[in-house]
């Protein structure tokens, strides 16, 4: 079948459309700026050595929060609510999506007060100080437990960096290439006893070598 002339132009060297780099199914524009900035601190990177942003982690988190995970569909969410001891686990009445929405608003308000700018506009060192403050519980937020939010943000960031690319993160297998995981492969019967030998086939995802979430 002959291609229309316009698609056969030499300038059009890519055979497939690039998947979207960002999505905003759940996040507002302001929230997205926070997530881009925060995940860039959690797993920093650049074009040569991809980190969370280059690997599509904000895209991944946005889609997760828009779905059953963000809604806490599987969680027991009946009251009464009490803080409880640390050993008793998550006791916040907010779903992950609500936790993000409240926390980001609270953190940006904190940053404006303490640093005169929202988180995304702060210098790297100040952003890192705020993240450490959330992680250690030294910054208190009015609407959500800061430590619980940091824990979930860091967990979701690692998930986006290291899960199958079909979920929108780990773009071009950035996370798996960094550590040397070759992806979900079916058979190592021969290789398991080749001790000390590197396994050098390139990564593969559940959607194949391309690994992308959306078919072109």
């Amino acid at each position: 079948m002959a291609l229309p002339a316009v698609l056969a132009l030499p300038a059009c060297t890519r055979t497939r459309a690039e998947p979207a780099k960002v999505s905003r199914v759940f996040f507002t524009a302001v929230e997205q700026r926070f997530i881009m900035a925060a995940t860039a601190r959690l797993i920093p990177g650049d074009a040569k050595d991809p980190g969370a942003v280059e690997a599509g982690v904000p895209f991944f988190i946005d889609l997760q929060l828009a779905g059953p995970y963000g809604r806490a569909d599987r969680w027991y969410m009946q009251g009464p609510w009490a803080a409880g001891a640390e050993q008793q686990g998550y006791q916040t009445s907010k779903t992950p999506a609500q936790l993000y929405r409240n926390a980001i608003g609270n953190i940006d308000a904190h940053c404006r007060r303490a640093y005169g700018a929202p988180f995304a506009d702060m210098p790297i060192e100040e952003q890192e100080a705020v993240l450490h403050g959330l992680e250690d519980g030294k910054i208190e937020l009015p609407d959500v437990p800061a430590k619980a939010f940091f824990a979930i943000l860091w967990q979701n960031t690692q998930e986006g960096f290291l899960s199958d690319p079909m979920y929108g993160g780990n773009r071009d297998f950035a996370g798996w290439k960094l550590i040397g995981f070759p992806g979900p492969r079916y058979n190592y019967v021969r290789e398991i006893s080749q001790y000390g030998q590197p396994y050098d086939l390139p990564p593969v995802g559940l959607l194949g070598r391309d690994g992308r979430r959306l078919p072109a």
Binding site: W75, Q87, Q88, G89, Y90, W154, E159, S163, I179, Y199
Partner: protein, 587 residues
């Protein structure tokens, strides 16, 4: 008003390992057997196909194969003076839901308990004196011995095609096997799995220290295997996605890969999914079950009459159903009376991460690919100088190298940022972890009852778990961890990271799904819910099968013993109960 259904001979609550075994056996007697499963239907094809099942996000992080707390959970506290709060998401343990139960997502680590484990109180008193047992430790003998269970362990191992090497054949110790195990009448059905790079390092170090390491028994088939029911299993491909995943290769033993192809063809067996059993329906006198009450996904309530009711759900759910149904006197820790909910126990685990110079390729693994030593399990060593009871195995498992949860980072690594990223790149391929897997004894203050505040989806009180690690368990676990650290140091590492289990038991970090007790077996109705055949003392046509029967927990993974007990109890039903329905043990 519940819709009354046509009676069956036997109704099974749950459709995992124990229900599948019991259904297969009792249908051979010509009985009409029905299994009621709360979860969804699942089959190897298409549900566990390798084209999609190796998905860490869906199954490990989003917990695709486990019970959903929105429908069923429990409340938890460390001690009686606290207010229990709901387990809102799964953490420390992960019960399965769906056909095959947790038998779909387990690793396949298939151990036998030690002979002394079954007679622990008698054994400890004889060797160390009665004063060695702390007063609040409610240790008790099982009412069944290892020798009695041996043929049933054998049946479960041959059903599953367990890969391993005997350590004690008819009393003769075998090289390369576990010299501490109880006598077995024949070797494992399959030879051990291939060794991983990590297990070889562990093996060498352990031998240098004078231990006798062995290949841990694995319900992951090392070779193609035809089991006694005529079901064919395939050779494990070491894909590294066992725990929390279904096996698409027919290699990991599960109800689907060992029993269901035969059972589901039988005219006298049926099962229904999406059925939450909420009560065992008792007769007016409360002495005999008439069947069960269940609710389907559309909220309709049914009464399923049956001559015989067998609870085959996860350990905690068995206990929850007994409490909701009023079977057995609920345990009261204040007076130390009552039985239902008594002697809940768990497992105490720790690890030592080992960072080496060579590539370990950790993602090439299998759920039960491990090398272990048993020198510090049970009473295999003199506890006199140590002052604690119990023990556990020390093993290096190569279960897989899933990137999100199965990476190890050296001590002092930043928790995030550029330092974390660099450490991930440097250590993922060059690290392994040694784990210790310790017993947990039973205590007066560790038990299950009904929560006074929180309710489930149907308005029933949630089960309440009161549990903490006690001094004895911490002492034992620290002892094991120190021994594990010495092995780690002998592995010629760059560095090690010793992770002791410290402080209160927490329901948050994953530890194991080895929850035991609450409907324990025994010889005395004052301290057990079921007799030695897992038959309720208070209702002879109700049997309660599973780890709920363990009077305390041993230092091994429980599934081998759960499988053996299921065969043992079913054999008693087939050979004794059916001819003469009534109590199998007179008091």
């Amino acid at each position: 008003m519940a819709i009354r259904l046509e009676p069956v001979d036997v109704v099974l609550v749950g459709f995992g390992w124990t229900a599948s075994i019991i259904a297969q056996e009792l249908t051979e007697e010509g009985l009409q057997v029905l299994a009621l499963e709360r979860g969804v239907d699942r089959a190897t094809v298409p549900d566990f196909a390798t084209t999609h099942v190796q998905d860490e996000l869906k199954y490990a992080m989003r917990m695709g194969m486990f019970q959903a707390p929105v429908r069923e959970t429990l409340t938890f506290r460390n001690s009686r003076d606290q207010t229990a709060l709901p387990m809102r998401t799964l953490g420390s343990f992960r019960p399965g839901a769906g056909v095959g139960g947790a038998g779909v997502h387990w690793n396949g680590q298939t151990w036998r308990f030690l002979p002394a484990d079954f007679e622990i109180r008698s054994h400890v008193e004889a060797r160390y004196g009665a004063g060695f047992i702390p007063p609040d430790m409610t240790l008790q003998d099982w009412g069944v011995t290892y020798d009695e269970l041996e043929p049933y362990y054998d049946r479960f191992e041959y059903l599953c095609g367990v890969s391993g090497k005997a350590g004690n054949l008819n009393g003769t110790v075998q090289a390369e096997g576990n010299p501490f195990e109880g006598r077995r009448t024949r070797d494992y059905p399959l030879p051990p799995l291939e060794r991983s790079a990590g297990t070889l390092l562990f093996d060498k170090a352990a031998r240098e220290l004078g231990y006798k390491p062995f290949a841990a028994p694995a319900a992951n088939a090392s070779r193609p295997y035809l089991n006694p029911l005529g079901v064919q299993m395939g050779q494990c491909t070491y894909c590294g996605f066992c725990e929390w995943f279904g096996c698409g290769n027919y290699s990991k033993a599960s109800p689907q890969s060992t029993i269901l192809p035969v059972l589901l063809k039988k005219d006298n067996f049926s099962y229904r999914t999406g059925c939450d059993v909420t009560r065992v329906k008792m007769d007016a006198a409360g002495k005999k079950a008439r069947g069960v009450i269940y609710v389907d996904l559309e909220g309709r309530e049914y009464e399923q009459p049956a001559e015989l009711v067998i609870l085959c759900a996860f350990a905690q759910h068995n206990v929850h159903l007994l409490l909701l149904s009023g079977i057995g006197q609920p345990y009261d820790p204040a007076t130390n009376t009552g039985v239902t909910g008594r002697n809940y126990a768990y497992q105490i685990t720790s690890s030592v991460d080992v960072f080496v110079d060579e590539i370990m390729n950790p993602y090439m693994g299998a759920g039960a690919l491990g090398q272990a030593i048993d020198e510090f399990n049970g009473d295999n060593f003199d506890h006199g100088p140590e002052g604690f009871i119990g023990g556990g195995y020390i093993a290096l498992w190569t279960t897989g190298g899933r990137p999100i949860l199965q990476h190890h980072l050296p001590k002092g690594t930043p928790t995030w940022g550029g330092g974390w990223k660099k450490a991930m790149a440097e250590n993922y391929l060059k690290s392994v972890s040694i784990s210790t897997h310790g017993s947990v004894m039973s205590y007066r203050g560790c038990y299950l009852d009904l929560d006074p505040t929180y309710r489930d989806y149907y308005g029933n009180p949630l089960l309440r778990l009161t549990f903490d690690f006690q001094k004895n368990e911490h002492a034992m676990s620290d002892y094991l961890t120190e021994k594990a650290a010495l092995i780690a140091k002998a592995m010629n590492p760059r560095s090690i990271n010793i992770k002791k289990r410290q402080g209160h038991y927490s329901i948050v970090p994953y530890q194991t799904t080895h929850n035991t007790g609450g409907a324990v077996m025994g010889d005395d109705p004052r301290t057990s819910v079921v007799n030695r055949y897992l038959q309720c003392w208070d209702a002879p046509n109700v049997f309660v099968v599973g780890a709920s029967a363990f009077p305390q927990n041993a230092g091994y993974n429980p599934t081998g013993t759960v499988g053996a007990l299921a065969y043992w109890a079913t054999d008693a039903i087939r050979t004794q109960y059916l001819a003469n329905p009534g109590p199998l043990v007179r008091t």
